[in-house]
């Protein structure tokens, strides 16, 4: 337990603004973006190795998730009708600008790949689009770590080393979960391996984030929002679900029922993790101690 922080403030009022991003939009977008990205990469690999059902599953998942994520993102804007203003400029200093272009490219590529796979029209173009989406996918799944870390919110900013890996692992597990639920048996084996690998990464990154490992200033305090309150509880549920899902995946082998149950657990874990990250950000912006104490310590040291 972190000792009670002694610090001055203006009548205990927050210094930072509470992020306007809210549930379920923001965590939903993080989940669907990750799912779409990893599913597109899975589809391309399945396609290259002749796993047709897994490839089709990946393509449809990538397209559906990209569409769902985009819808959530647009609905979260204060002026949704102005969404296209995102594509007025390309700004490397704005992860949201970079992300909008990646999402647009990825959405288009997954759409082309899925349309070709379903209709059988222009198969070579479809495969090329699928290969392209396999390249944009990992970027889409991990840039969101930069998106939220490039803020003044202490728990997000100081988590910039962990968040991309957390989202990468979670995305791997999420896409693997859909793949193994939809494609049983031998063809679904790579999806099951993705679940286990992804869950391992997700659990490792979340553990480091919770303990503040690698954070520079006052790590124990700055990582506190991930351990206490609603965010802390959600991260614990998420860990239990992810671990259970991964274990189920390992032992269940080719049982369809076990695969679906494990997939649901992994998906639940991925969603819990995303909601936890949002609420940790809210908590760390709302309490001035997370802003004042590390900065005051820095000033005193200097």
């Amino acid at each position: 337990m972190v000792p009670r922080a002694e610090f001055g403030s203006y009548y205990g009022r927050p210094i930072l603004k509470r992020p306007r991003w809210k549930a379920p939009h923001m965590p939903g977008y993080l989940y669907f973006g990750g799912l779409s990205g990893a599913a597109a990469t899975m589809a391309a690999m399945a396609d290259a190795t002749g796993r047709r059902r897994l490839s089709l599953t990946g393509r449809l998942t990538a397209l559906t998730a990209a569409a769902a994520g985009s819808a959530l993102l647009i609905d979260e804007l204060g002026r949704p009708e102005r969404f296209l203003h995102m594509l007025r400029v390309f700004k490397p200093t704005s992860p949201m600008s970079v992300g909008s272009w990646v999402l647009a490219a990825h959405g288009g590529l997954t759409g082309a790949a899925a349309a070709s796979a379903v209709t059988g029209i222009a198969p070579r173009l479809g495969r090329a689009a699928g290969a392209g989406a396999a390249l944009t996918g990992p970027v889409l799944a991990t840039y969101t770590g930069v998106l939220i870390a490039d803020t003044a919110v202490p728990a997000w900013h100081e988590g910039y080393r962990h968040l991309p890996l957390l989202f990468a692992g979670s995305a791997l597990a999420s896409a693997g979960a859909v793949g193994m639920a939809a494609v049983p048996g031998r063809e679904g084996a790579p999806a099951r391996r993705m679940v286990v690998l992804g869950a391992g990464l997700e659990l490792a990154a979340a553990g480091m984030l919770e303990r503040g490992k690698g954070m520079r200033e006052e790590p124990e305090l700055v990582s506190e929002p991930y351990r206490i309150g609603r965010a802390g509880a959600l991260l614990r549920y998420g860990r239990a679900l992810t671990a259970a899902g991964a274990a189920g995946t390992l032992v269940a082998g080719r049982s369809r029922t076990a695969a679906v149950m494990s997939a649901l657990a992994v998906t639940g874990g991925a969603l819990c993790t995303r909601f936890a990250v949002l609420y940790a950000g809210h908590a760390s912006a709302e309490d001035p101690k997370y802003t004042v104490v590390p900065q005051r310590a820095r000033v005193t040291r200097a």
Partner: protein
């Protein structure tokens, strides 16, 4: 392009692409002469036609607005302190600290850097302004500001903050708050001149025994490259609701992209590994 993300930057407007811009202008807010009249808040609202904040006091002191926000571009803080000073003022001495807070118009403005639409832009006076016909309300700037200044107005969905009266500056006038301030607590002018004046005033106060007086935001070597609006304070910044040592978030942006690149490679690698082996 050196120091474009972090560090001192001498020609802010020129860096933003203006050829031969006017001298950088700014605010110097000397809180030691603020009387808490809120004329600045009222003048700002009047000139900029900002919606009202309600008339209820927050319950702490004489503050009715509480903090800067989408419809509060100047905020007067009232801090009641009992016997805070070492200087002998008799028994039960107490004092009021009053300070008119405003957008800092940072040299490295995180709100501007993260804005994905270009709605936030650097003016020729090196200040930071939101173009309201472009802002799509993504609220990225809200979370990026290390001072908690800019906010989204929920009824119209756009982000708003102090423009330093951009329209008045263009006509050679000073901003409405500075114009209305009866004690010259808010001063507007060329930033270099203001900094010099502020250092002089600080020296006078120190000579008078007000040793706790300090400048805040005037140092171009600080975490945001210096503020276009800086302050003379009589206590720690956090007492006024200001962060003690704010750092622009883009300082770490290159490192962030590196970590994300590593994570993306790890994701791709894990997928590839999963497909190894016999069918």
């Amino acid at each position: 392009m050196t120091n474009s993300l972090f560090g001192p930057l001498h020609d802010v407007a020129e860096e933003a692409g203006y050829a031969d811009p006017p001298e950088r202008a700014g605010f110097f807010t000397d809180t030691s002469v603020c009387i808490g009249c809120k004329a600045c808040e009222v003048a700002c609202k009047e000139w900029n036609a900002i919606p009202e904040d309600g008339y209820a006091l927050t319950g702490m002191s004489y503050d009715n607005t509480g903090a800067l926000g989408a419809s509060t571009w100047r905020h007067v803080a009232f801090i009641e302190q009992s016997a805070p000073r070492e200087v002998d003022q008799g028994d039960g001495a107490s004092r009021w600290l009053m300070a008119s807070d405003v957008c800092k118009h940072c040299t490295h403005a995180a709100c501007l850097d993260v804005c994905p639409t270009g709605a936030l832009f650097r003016t020729e006076f090196a200040t930071v302004v939101v173009q309201q016909d472009i802002c799509n309300g993504c609220a990225y700037c809200v979370s990026a500001c290390p001072y908690g200044v800019i906010d989204r107005r929920e009824d119209d969905g756009r982000a708003w903050k102090c423009t330093m009266c951009y329209d008045r500056l263009g006509d050679g006038m000073e901003p409405a708050c500075a114009k209305a301030c009866p004690t010259d607590s808010i001063q507007y002018g060329p930033l270099d001149e203001l900094r010099e004046r502020a250092r002089e005033r600080l020296g006078d106060l120190h000579d008078q025994g007000v040793t706790e007086a300090r400048l805040y935001g005037e140092d171009e070597n600080d975490g945001v490259g210096g503020d276009g609006a800086f302050f003379l304070l009589l206590d720690e910044p956090e007492t006024y609701g200001l962060p003690p040592d704010p750092v622009v978030t883009t300082r770490d942006l290159p490192a962030m992209w590196k970590w994300a690149g590593g994570a993306a490679a790890a994701l791709a690698g894990c997928v590839a590994v999963s497909f190894l082996g016999r069918r």
